[in-house]
């Protein structure tokens, strides 16, 4: 299906919300790809970090909200430190996650059974994953 564009969609409320929470201007991105090429976990993402930026420019915030990518991002800040436009891409990822989380759509539930080795995991891993991924 094509992405349909119209003037109400570009810079729509949800995109504005992402910009507000992240304090970043997604329209500064010129799609150089530097964020993606440095991303250590891009292989596990469904859309690449530069595509996250692009979809935001196209007003497709929903596609980002529903992506795997935002949950795969490890907040390593490689993208943010390399972006030639000074965009803090990791903040954009965080903003999208937090919109989901504020809607209570966490990807990890603290009581979920699939954290199989919960006993082995150090507190640092658990606390951080809960902060990033639980709603």
């Amino acid at each position: 299906m094509p992405i349909s564009l119209n003037r109400n969609k570009v810079r729509n409320e949800l995109v504005k919300r992402i910009e507000e929470i992240s304090a970043q201007d997604v329209f500064q991105c010129y799609q150089c790809g530097n964020c993606s090429s440095g991303c250590p976990v891009i292989d596990y993402m469904d859309i690449s970090p530069n595509q996250v930026m692009r979809l935001a420019q196209l007003g497709e915030a929903e596609m980002i909200l529903n992506s795997e990518t935002i949950w795969i991002c490890a907040t390593c800040l490689q993208c943010s430190s390399r972006c030639p436009k000074g965009i803090d891409v990791a903040k954009v990822m965080e903003a999208v996650r937090s919109i989901n989380l504020r809607n209570r759509d966490g990807i990890v539930k603290p009581d979920r059974e699939d954290i199989e080795d919960i006993d082995e995991l150090p507190p640092i891993a658990l606390v951080s994953v809960f902060r990033k991924k639980t709603g």
């Binding site: 390593c76 640092i124 891993a125």
Partner: protein
Amino acid sequence: MSLPYFPGCTLKVDAKHFEDSAMKVMEILDEPLQEMKDWICCGTVFSMTSDDLMLQLASIRNLLRAEEQDIKELIVLCSMCYNTLKRAEKFITEDEENLRKVNDVMYKEDIEFHGLVEVKHLLSILKERITFNKIEEKTQKPLKDFKLGAYYGCLLLRPEDMAIDTFEDPDIIENLLKSTGADTIKFPYRLECCGAYQTVNNKDVTISRTYEIINSARKSGCEALVTSCPLCAFNLDQRQKQTAEAYLDFKKMPIFYFTELLSIALGSGWDKSWEKLHYVDPEPILKEKNLI
């Protein structure tokens, strides 16, 4: 005089050897560490949202406690704690407005916060205050012929404005290790993320990172890796078990905290109890190098 330090939760549980060895080392260097009082979880990850102050409060509250204890310089061992607390420090010192907001939010607690605490990583203290020359002088058991790779990961270096060294090509850990007589190798993946908290519910991601990072180190000639973060240590060490299961050609490699090796070099030795906190047994290589 003793240096106030913030341990963080993991150093009290899974990374006891990190704290232990750091205490020993600083004792020998005549600048003993003194755990600060009333610390709470650092927050582990600095919230990167710009609209909700509450998410920042855990780390800020630690700074506030420190200020109340008259601490000017707060020393941190764990990279993740360093990152979170340092960013909290920057958050309040860079913009007066932020400091004001923090005080507003915490008005009920009847306190006045000035944002005067400086957060420092132990590595910076070793470099700037102790100096590597002194470490070289004090080295009793040089880590001779030990080929080590320093693994920085992300949180000591990014964002750039709080990096403990030049962020694209740091060498603070290498220089520290060199001062104890070790050989260091700058291996390509030394600044690459280990996958961090993905280890909890995206284990595959971390396993593949571990595979890549350790392979890269091995190909470059490293015999062991050195880190300063318990989460990196977990991913690189404990996860080697699953890595070996997933990749048949994978060869294990011991992982150390920089303080463990310093402890050996400076003469306070290797504590047998540290061994079981490692997954890949570090003792064979230490024996091979005549260090224990």
